[in-house]
């Protein structure tokens, strides 16, 4: 399907990227040849069992790890080994504890030598708009988990790349906060027009947020299925009880159940 897209619509292309590494003498196939085309402005989720190479793929796209084979192309040029081309929010929020929220949020701009006054001028409207007003001079430990994740997400957004990678950003939050954060993320995404790649374990979360879901198989990871999510936007919390949502959930559950069984059987054999 994606092969027929007009070129200008393509933001990011993963071309048969694989990753094999050796640890303690054992060869581990973390990622099988994986290809993926991401259109500009789309919200794409990647879902799959633990250890399916999702984080490996993200590290490759972020330029932090080199793939064994394959290439990642963004806007027509390879971005292998080029960190900083995409915005990447790691699993842990990772705010620097000795910096205030404001100083954490402008870290990305600071590293690119944007003058501090200018960085603050750009950060403040987002801080106000996205619910961190009044907390900019606080330190991370003074904030709740949800607030901290908002701050790390704003840092990633203010790094100002077209493509944003989010690796299970809400994994550590409680269910209530998680739902609030999902709506919040959709608002930010809608405003800032980013292309988002989102790793999650949570089927509901993937459906609620995404335009498209890539289902990964267990190790060695590869794309097992691509699911289009055609639920209308803007989505509100009650979409999760709609028939369309239920249908998608059923499909995803059975896909993931197969994988879980396979992984379990392999583990039993080994």
């Amino acid at each position: 399907m994606s092969d027929m897209l007009p070129r200008e619509d393509l933001k990011l292309e993963v071309r048969s990227v694989s990753k094999v590494f050796r640890r303690n003498g054992k060869v581990i196939h973390a990622l099988d040849a994986t290809s993926m085309s991401v259109r500009r402005g789309r919200f794409v989720s990647i879902i799959g069992p633990s250890g399916c190479g999702k984080s490996t793929l993200f590290n490759v796209i972020a330029g932090l790890a080199k793939p064994t084979t394959g290439d990642v192309v963004a806007d027509g040029a390879s971005i292998i080994g080029k960190p900083g081309y995409v915005g990447y929010m790691l699993q842990k929020g990772l705010l620097l504890p000795w910096r205030t929220i404001l100083d954490n949020i402008i870290l990305g701009m600071e590293v690119r030598d944007v003058p501090k006054a200018q960085a603050i001028a750009r950060a403040m409207p987002l801080i106000e708009r996205y619910g961190l007003k009044g907390f900019e001079q606080h330190y991370p430990h003074e904030l709740s988990g949800g607030m901290r994740q908002r701050a790390s997400l704003l840092r990633t957004m203010l790094y100002d790349r077209d493509v944003i990678l989010l690796d299970e950003p809400f994994g550590a939050l409680d269910a209530q906060t998680r739902m609030l954060m999902q709506s919040w993320l959709l608002q930010v995404w809608g405003d800032l027009e980013k292309t988002v790649l989102f790793v999650t374990h949570d089927i509901d979360e993937a459906i609620f947020l995404s335009d498209e879901i890539q289902v990964f198989s267990s190790r060695p990871g590869r794309i097992k299925a691509t699911i289009e999510v055609d639920l209308p936007r803007p989505r509100t919390a009650d979409v999760v009880t709609s028939p369309g949502f239920m249908e998608l959930k059923r499909t995803l559950l059975s896909l993931l159940a197969e994988e879980a069984e396979r992984a379990y059987a392999e583990a039993a054999l080994a």
Partner: protein
Amino acid sequence: MATQALGRTDAPAAESLDVVDEDERARARIRRASTIGRWAVGIAIVVLWEALTRIKLIDPYYFSSPSLIVKSAILAWTTGTLLTDVEFTFSATIIGFVVGVLLGAAIGLSTWWSKTYANILEPYLVTFNAVPKLALAPVLIILFGIGFQSKVALAVLLCVVPTAIAAYSGVKSIDPDMETLLFSLGAKRRHVFTKVVVPWAMPWIVSSLHVNIGLALAGTIVGEFIASQAGVGRMILYAGQTMDINLVWVGVVVLSLMAILMYWAVSWFEKVVLKGFMHGAQSAGR
């Protein structure tokens, strides 16, 4: 309102507030008692010392007495060289401490740049830390002369390795995800160094300061013992050789006061610096 609900309409609201404060009042009581107790013990020691020497139960010839020490101190301050001696010892200690800590921190932090370099350096740091460095004092006196410089050098020598080891421990404990975060933001290594490595290791370095200020003082005094023309250490040595036991005690008291003063200064500095670098998430031990 709560008191009414409990049927105790006669109880004034202020009293129910006092009940809530019980814990805080208990803590305040303990604090007050501790402070009084501390002063009482100190005063008791001084009074007892004075009394026992007055009734000759202990011999003031060896142990002096508080009043004799005060008399001797006033004499040394007004007619003797106590003021210049204190200045000498104090500045040698402070300069040696500052130089030693900065040098040590620089060595420790530099290990972040290369794992190989760090591996080569590590056994030398550990070995040198185990060497009784005061034994090298005569060498430093020969190298730097009997003046001020050799005292500073000894203080530096004593501080530098513990600080380097502390900073190295800090560097080793850095959360690799923090580095990854910076790299993912397109940071160069120098950014990671200044924005993550240095602040991360700061609590380790700062927590070594208490030990180091004591070491710097010890280094300076030993230098003065060996060969010097000024300093509290020299004064003590001279007083001992002339059997002026009161002056020896003056030296001991002055050094103790200096040590306490510097310890307080370091504590204050620690509080100020750590406020900027440790916000709950980190503690020096981690």
